[in-house]
């Protein structure tokens, strides 16, 4: 539930209206100029239909320097950001030779595996020498090595399911699996804030799609009852299959899914549960096994568990874990398994080694330390930001914390001012988020030390005052109470 000050909502609408009006004026004049100039493109079809590039040309390109900044080192807690400049008002950006060392608050580096690790990296280099950088074939042809089998067993064991299958890319895992497990005549009910990969996969499957209000099990129940009573559109026959798709941690809100209630609702109406743990696997839970462990849900109740290795494990790729029959079926039918190149062997080795570190099987307690550190860091950072008066979304224990900005002008202001003080943050605006709710998303990592976090807090507080995003009243500092009790050196006692 996001609380907006009313005047901020009004001014945000007004700002977007102004930007839109300016964009339309410039397009209008551009059309007039182009009509006067002769063009040699007679008979060519237009690249964009209608106005579909309006947002990119007139809104995104104005602040293009805040997005897509190139980096020149591994995305560890501190990294090198390449400086860019523009001569034509951000239409094109040119890279310079200079780099600046910045604190990384944007990478999904939850457990700190993004840079070289003392256990994982030597083993990854070994497997690179042994298996080479790519298998150069699909899983069914010649792309299944011993590493792949070990990886699938390892993942199934870690997640808590009988079997698992691993793919080379995280986005493709969602968009290639959903068309395979459900088709026309089925129903997909997905949360309104689900990731684009799920939306693409659902659209590609041909099933009917219905959306329920974000994280509201009562609305999910209402939608389920309505859809089961009506049946398929037009023929009103019963649905062949119903799948409810939810995510563990929503990457734009930092909220945890209300999994126990949703699983109860689905069991009552006999729908399958598909859980996408892209951001929560390895980052939450006592031993890092994700949102099921954190919320106390039995993994046998969740039918299909999907996740990616890009966030907590420092690698690439995605997995699906489920029953042995499901995984066997997927291996026969899923195009990502039959026709796509299998996951690269060094990447697979990185995942295996990082899972071993998390579980403590490498003989040290670094995994448990990392998990404890990320939990402490997230809770400390979030509570400090809230005390300063920022509006921060997300539940406790979640390492993703979006700070609300709202106004479109504050997005580049916040981003550029933070970069000047060597803090790199990621800002997200329309259309990834709703129009009103632009935000700066901070991802905490286990490799951030306390000093890093304190520096970040100081800079963000300064920039927040400058930009004006402290929408809530700040809590009074506790030190003032101590000072009042002790008589200061410069107070004169009147007797």
């Amino acid at each position: 539930m996001i609380t907006i000050p009313y005047l901020t909502a009004l001014s945000t609408y007004f700002s977007y209206g102004l930007l839109f009006a300016f964009g339309q004026f410039r397009d209008f004049f551009r059309k007039i100029f182009d009509w006067w100039q002769a063009s040699n493109l007679q008979g060519y079809a237009p690249i964009c239909l209608g106005l579909e590039d309006f947002y990119i040309r007139r809104l995104y390109l104005r602040i293009q320097d805040c997005f897509g900044r190139p980096i020149a080192s591994a995305p560890d807690a501190w990294f090198d950001v390449v400086e860019r400049y523009s001569n034509d008002n951000n239409k094109t950006l040119k890279r310079t030779e200079k780099i600046s060392r910045c604190l990384n608050l944007g990478s999904y580096n939850y457990l700190g595996f993004a840079a070289a690790d003392e256990y994982c990296t030597p083993r990854v280099i070994d497997s690179l020498n042994r298996f080479s950088a790519s298998t150069c074939s699909t899983r069914v042809d010649g792309g299944t090595t011993t590493l792949h089998k070990e990886l699938e067993d390892c993942v199934a064991n870690f997640v808590g399911k009988p079997a698992a299958v691993v793919f080379g890319m995280g986005y493709v895992t969602n968009s290639a699996i959903l068309p395979v497990i459900i088709g026309k005549g089925g129903l997909i009910i997905s949360d309104s804030l689900n990731h684009n990969s799920i939306v693409n996969g659902a659209r590609g499957s041909g099933a009917t799609i219905r959306v329920f209000q974000h994280n509201t099990p009562s609305h999910l129940e209402k939608v389920l009852r309505e859809q089961i009573a009506e049946g398929q559109p037009r023929t009103h026959r019963p649905w062949k299959k119903i799948i409810v798709v939810v995510e563990g941690i929503y990457s734009m809100e930092g909220e945890l899914c209300k999994l126990p209630e949703i699983v109860t609702v689905c069991k009552k109406y006999k729908a399958y549960v598909y859980l996408d743990e892209a951001h929560s696997i390895g980052a939450v839970g006592k031993t890092g096994r994700g949102v099921c462990e954190l919320l106390g849900v039995d993994t046998a109740d969740v039918d299909i568990m999907m996740g990616t290795f890009t966030k907590s494990f420092g690698s690439c790729g995605g997995y699906i874990a489920g029953s042995k029959e499901l995984i066997q079926y997927l291996k026969y039918t899923c195009p990502a398994h039959l026709y796509a190149t299998s996951i690269s062997p060094p990447a697979a080795q990185q995942i295996i080694s990082s899972i071993k570190v998390i579980l403590g099987e490498d003989g040290s307690s670094r995994g448990a330390q990392k998990l404890a550190r990320i939990r402490e860091n997230s809770n400390f950072f979030r509570s400090e930001l809230q005390k300063m008066g920022f509006e921060v979304l997300g539940d406790n224990d979640s390492p993703v914390m979006p700070i609300m900005l709202y106004n479109p002008a504050k997005i580049p202001a916040f981003s550029r001012e933070c970069l000047k003080q060597n803090i790199a943050v990621v800002t997200v605006a329309f259309p990834a988020t709703p129009l009103l709710l632009a935000r700066a998303r901070i991802c905490i990592s286990a490799s951030h030390t306390k000093e890093d976090l304190l520096k970040a807090l100081e800079v963000i507080s300064q920039v927040g005052d400058l930009v004006g995003i402290k929408y809530f009243p700040a809590e009074p500092k506790k030190q003032l109470q101590h000072q009042e009790q002790q008589p200061g050196k410069d107070t004169i006692k009147l007797e």
Partner: protein, 157 residues
């Protein structure tokens, strides 16, 4: 007054082009915008208040007709063009008719017409232009006009 907060519940609308209309504060912004544009017209042209309201009404007619009922599709390409044959009016509220938002948007041109014709004392030619504006706008918003293209004007190729 400055600390008046509202709660923003994310609506279950997948169309990013129209879901912003379901958040709090839109109606107030719309009304305030019309009022301030009337003040602006008054201060720039120095005409009578009635003339200013007529100008606001006609400008409102042109702008809302163009953006609500003429332009089709969405200004970004992330939705792969599934709304490319629908105008903004046909997209809001997922195509459901007679919702609160639609009723509000139908009432605004009528109220503007009443204000404009009252303050100009129902004189021609302003009355004719204002009446034309309100008839076109209100007819375009009827539920029966959903996806109707008269004489094939503005239809897809």
């Amino acid at each position: 007054m400055a600390n008046l907060y509202v709660k923003a519940v994310p609506p279950a609308d997948l169309n990013r082009n129209t879901d912003w209309f379901m958040y709090p504060g839109v109606w107030t912004t719309y009304i305030l915008f019309l009022f301030f544009s009337w003040l602006l017209v008054l201060s720039i042209f120095g005409c009578s208040p009635g003339m200013a309201w007529t100008i606001v009404n006609l400008a409102h007619f042109l702008v809302t007709y163009h953006f609500f009922h003429w332009k089709k599709g969405t200004p970004f390409s992330d939705d792969q063009g599934i709304y490319n044959s629908l105008t903004w009016w046909e997209q809001i509220d997922n195509g459901k008719q007679l919702t609160r938002n639609r009723k509000f948007l139908t009432v605004v041109p009528v109220v503007l017409y009443l204000i404009a014709s009252h303050t100009t004392d129902y004189q021609h030619p302003m009355l004719f232009l204002n009446t034309l504006a309100v008839i076109v706008l209100v007819v375009a918003k009827f539920p029966n006009m959903h996806k109707v293209r008269i004489f094939g004007i503005n239809a897809d190729k």
